[in-house]
Symmetry: D2
Subunit: 114 residues, 4 copies
């Protein structure tokens, strides 16, 4: 495997992990905590983040020429989700996965496609 393929493999893993963390925490931790954790803006950004991560992984797995664009949007949503979770507190795992995925997706988006 060449450097680009390895980097993409890591980015796919980061996206799937971020999807699992955001969606899993929203549907367990947030729903069970209630209050601010189920306020519409917070809950929506969690679900949006999970979905775009799932989609970004899908596009990279199929080696789509559009993967870069989807990764760029994914990075933006991850960053916003990280900021929102940081502000809310008690969401450390989500913040960490979102920031890691954002970095990884931004690097992917900035690469010239093959």
């Amino acid at each position: 495997m060449d450097a680009r393929t390895l980097k993409m493999q890591d980015c796919i893993d980061d996206c799937l992990r971020c999807y699992a963390t955001c969606f899993g925490m929203a549907m367990t931790h947030c729903l069970e905590a209630g209050g601010e954790h189920v306020a519409a803006p917070h809950f929506r950004i969690m679900i949006a983040c999970a979905e775009i991560c799932r989609t970004a992984a899908h596009f990279m797995l199929m080696r789509s020429a559009h993967a870069g664009h989807v990764c760029r949007e994914c990075a933006e949503i991850c960053e916003q989700c990280a900021a929102d979770c940081e502000k809310l507190g008690d969401m450390d795992d989500c913040v960490a996965q979102c920031l890691r995925c954002a970095r990884s997706c931004r690097a992917m988006a900035d690469q010239p496609s093959a």
Copy 2:
């Protein structure tokens, strides 16, 4: 198109409509209403229903031999979602779509595959 194909086409439409109604209402009406509408059991069955409807449509669209099994599971989840929404109240559109989709998926599941 033969009768089976037409019936499947209708079932796909019912699944996609039920997905859109359940997911859309969960993420707007329920999140905005709060209270019982974001109680974990209710919210989870809404999201589970949306997801299995999306998956059932996907299996029928690809003419998978496993579509019948997925439709059977979809019917069960739709019926449970309809009952939960009925009990909660103020969810008439969701109840109607879930019942319609359940009937359609059960008929699909009971058909011998081609």
Copy 3:
């Protein structure tokens, strides 16, 4: 419902119909026809188009502030899919749905968000 909500409802319908047409035709018509219909670039754009349409609908259904960006990407992929299907031939239904969805998504993307 106000004008923007009605327009969004139509766009969701266009996205779900385009998803169903692209994914359904790829997994039946294209796989059964073989030859150029399963050439990697054609098959990939069909599956990419189906996926981004599904995602765009998801973002609009949850009234995400990021729906506009996803719709813009969706419009681009739909246009490329329509052009590829037009060139290949025997894909009229797919061409029509992709062009319709592209128009609808571009209008959505150009609207200021609420």
Copy 4:
């Protein structure tokens, strides 16, 4: 974390890995190899397997009471995908991930839900 939660976490990982392998190989290896690799029955079981794995992970992540049923269906489709890939040859990675995921999902399905 208790034993059941740990086991579910492993099963989610197995499902996401199997999804990535099946979908990724279908859209790269199979499309590029052509011939028997894009025969409709083989390609369809690959895509069906990817989709049910993605759905099973989703149901476990939200701790749905229906996760067991979806895992049972997932195990069946994974086993059929493994057998089909084994017969075709040159699909070792896919065979391995499908068998691992099938075992994991069957164990999950056989557990009494909490």
